[in-house]
């Protein structure tokens, strides 16, 4: 056996161990976080049970009664609304960068979007509170009430006094925060379309729009959906940006112009001053439910992803 062969074996083994450790640390971390959350939440789990906590709309630290329904519903509404605003915008950006923009604009816009991703979320929160919320309350929300608000059924979603601290403002901020993720991933996936496919389509007389719609989008579907999943994960867990503009009002909202709360908003607002043990345990319980919910939503996205891939 030559010494170089020995070295080869040694290095292969070392790489194997290092990569193995690196990936397993993540799994152990996730498991560890789950266990700690469970342990800390245990007093609340024992007191309120699972369904009792999940379905209760009460949150009264003085009387020590806690429930998760408004926070979980608030989390779902803001995240989904943010996705509905962000996904079309992000797709538009990606298509524009890949197919429409002249080359000098491409880099300019790409860098701009990446910069957007680098802004800390607390800055978004403060900007939201000081700049966006007044704009929403003064111009955008009254305008929405005058137009969409007059429609039957959908109009119900825009009832109430426009105050700027509400689900709509929070969702708009969230959407701005997740656009960079969705757009970057969509841009890169679209760029992966083989030029041969595009050129063949052009050769048989397809227009630019047809090429985008029938060649590029189907080809990069997987990547785009992956990007959306990534964004959803971020939206579910986002804390500081929404904490400033959602008001922490513990009630199930009936209109988008109502103040509400999310799991993370509740945690950010109440964690530091929770002086009763059951209050703290209930906050941990909320965190645990968010952890489980995020896990299932991301798993669902992954499943969808696999299904499309197989087709």
């Amino acid at each position: 056996m030559t010494s170089s062969f020995k070295r080869e074996i040694f290095f292969n083994l070392a790489y194997l161990i290092i990569t193995f450790l690196a990936s397993f640390i993540i799994i152990f971390l996730a498991l560890g976080i789950f266990l700690v959350l469970f342990k800390e939440a245990y007093p609340a789990i024992k007191t309120f049970g699972f369904l009792g906590f999940l379905l209760s709309t009460e949150w009264d630290p003085v009387k020590e009664v806690f429930g998760a329904a408004p926070s979980l519903i608030g989390t779902l509404i803001t995240s989904l609304l943010a996705l509905t605003i962000a996904v079309p915008t992000a797709l538009g950006i990606a298509i524009f960068i890949n197919e429409v923009a002249p080359s000098f604009l491409k880099d300019f816009i790409s860098t701009g979007i990446e910069l957007l991703a680098a802004i800390p979320s607390i800055i978004y929160g403060m900007w939201g509170l000081f700049t966006l919320a007044p704009l929403m309350a003064k111009y955008i929300e009254p305008f929405l009430q005058e137009t969409i608000g007059k429609l039957p059924l959908i109009g119900k979603l825009f009832e109430g006094t426009p105050l700027g601290i509400d689900l709509l403002t929070a969702s708009v901020i969230l959407s701005i925060m997740i656009i960079p993720f969705t757009a970057s991933v969509a841009r890169d996936s679209l760029a992966l379309t083989p030029p041969v496919l595009k050129e063949s389509a052009y050769a048989i007389g397809a227009t630019k729009w047809e090429v985008i719609k029938d060649v590029m989008l189907p080809y990069s579907k997987l990547g785009i959906i992956g990007g959306i999943g990534l964004s959803l994960g971020r939206a579910l867990g986002e804390t500081m940006a929404v904490a400033f503009v959602l008001g922490n009002v513990n009630k199930i909202p009936t209109s988008l112009l109502e103040a509400s709360t999310t799991v993370t908003v509740k945690l950010a607002n109440e964690f530091t001053e929770a002086d009763k043990d059951i209050h703290l345990a209930s906050l941990f319980y909320l965190a645990l439910l968010l952890f489980i919910m995020s896990f299932f939503i991301l798993a669902l996205a992954k499943l969808l992803f696999l299904k499309i891939e197989r087709r």
Binding site: P61, V249, N250, N269, F271
Partner: protein, 339 residues
């Protein structure tokens, strides 16, 4: 082998880097807790360091965290905006004393009414925050402000969305003056609000009231001054109309039952005294009783602050403790052989 030695070097660096640090020659006092007094403790600490070369490191992690950490003995002193009950102090073997006073004021945004002139009383404030008074020209507000042209506009109460000592002081006052509040809501760092909108932090409430007409909120006095908000006068427990200012906060603190025997547990809300502002609270320091040596150092710091720190407190719009309360605290220290 170059890579291996690099890797080894890196590992050694990690292990050594994480290992126990050398014992510092300089003693550092570690405190943690309430966010409200943080700016003051920080400026006291920096001035104290200049004079004595002793470092006081205060982390504003919130009152709940401060209480937890001193009970677990991970810090040298804890700080809380809500006093612990005497039995809790004794159960956890602690020493509790107040450090500084703050006043909570109601701030309004009423373009039609001259600033700092509106008068309110406990019952009216209670009804506003219960959502029972919905308009500025309601009879209750009119009765307190004869001759003032009150607009017929909907009224929005603004409260703290985050848990806070300010909320505890404010809701404790409402619990005292309003039976319905006591029954339905109660008091605490966060409560189950019946009406209005939450904003995060004193600065959040101040900002929201400032830019939204026809809102009313409660903030620490300092924030009302800094943001030039219009505060209200209050009818106090003996029926006098008082203005929020240092002297009326001090008056309340002087006559509050701050007694060492009860570990200074009291609420300085709704004090029955001629010129007393009704919504005042103290922020407290907690010490671990058995750590005599460390406590002596902490006590030295606060004694220094009581003697030299009043002007710093005033500059930051806190209200220093009245001299007689400071004397009571010194007696408490003496009784524990710390002073």
């Amino acid at each position: 082998m170059k890579y291996l030695s690099l890797l080894l070097g890196w590992l050694i660096f990690l292990i050594v880097g994480c290992g126990p640090k050398e014992e510092k020659a300089q003693r550092t006092l570690n405190g943690a807790g309430a966010t409200f007094p943080y700016p003051l403790y920080a400026s006291w600490a920096s001035e104290y360091y200049k004079n004595t070369k002793i470092k006081v490191n205060y982390q504003s992690i919130g009152s709940g965290g401060g209480i937890r950490q001193i009970i677990e003995r991970t810090v040298d002193f804890g700080a809380t905006d809500m006093p612990l009950k005497p039995e809790e102090v004794e159960k956890n073997n602690l020493i509790q004393f107040p450090a500084v006073i703050g006043g909570v004021v109601l701030v309004v945004n009423l373009p039609e009414v001259p600033p700092n002139s509106l008068v309110l009383d406990g019952n009216t404030v209670c009804k506003i925050f219960l959502g029972e008074i919905k308009s500025w020209d309601s009879p209750e507000i009119k009765a307190l402000n004869p001759g003032v042209n009150l607009p017929s506009k909907p009224l929005t109460p603004i409260y703290r969305s985050d848990g806070s000592g300010t909320t505890a002081i404010f809701t404790h006052y409402l619990t005292q003056v309003c039976p319905k509040w006591a029954k339905e809501v109660g008091f605490g760092t966060s409560v189950n609000w019946k009406a209005g909108l939450g904003a995060k932090g004193n600065e959040g409430v101040a900002n929201y009231v400032q830019r939204t007409p026809y809102t009313i909120g409660y903030v620490e006095y300092a924030y009302a001054l800094q943001n030039k908000l219009s505060w209200t006068k209050m009818k106090n427990a003996v029926g006098n109309i008082v203005v929020p200012e240092e002297s009326s906060f001090k008056e309340a603190a002087s006559f509050a039952k701050l007694e060492p025997e009860k570990h200074f547990y009291t609420w300085i809300t709704n004090v029955s005294e001629k010129n007393a502002w009704p919504i005042v609270g103290a922020t407290y320091i907690l010490l671990a009783k058995e750590k005599t040596e460390v406590n002596k150092e902490v006590v030295k710091f606060f004694d220094w602050a009581f003697k030299n720190g009043d002007s710093m407190a005033k500059n930051l719009h806190y209200v220093p403790l009245p001299e007689e309360v400071k004397e009571k605290i010194r007696n408490l220290w003496k009784s524990h052989n710390l002073y």
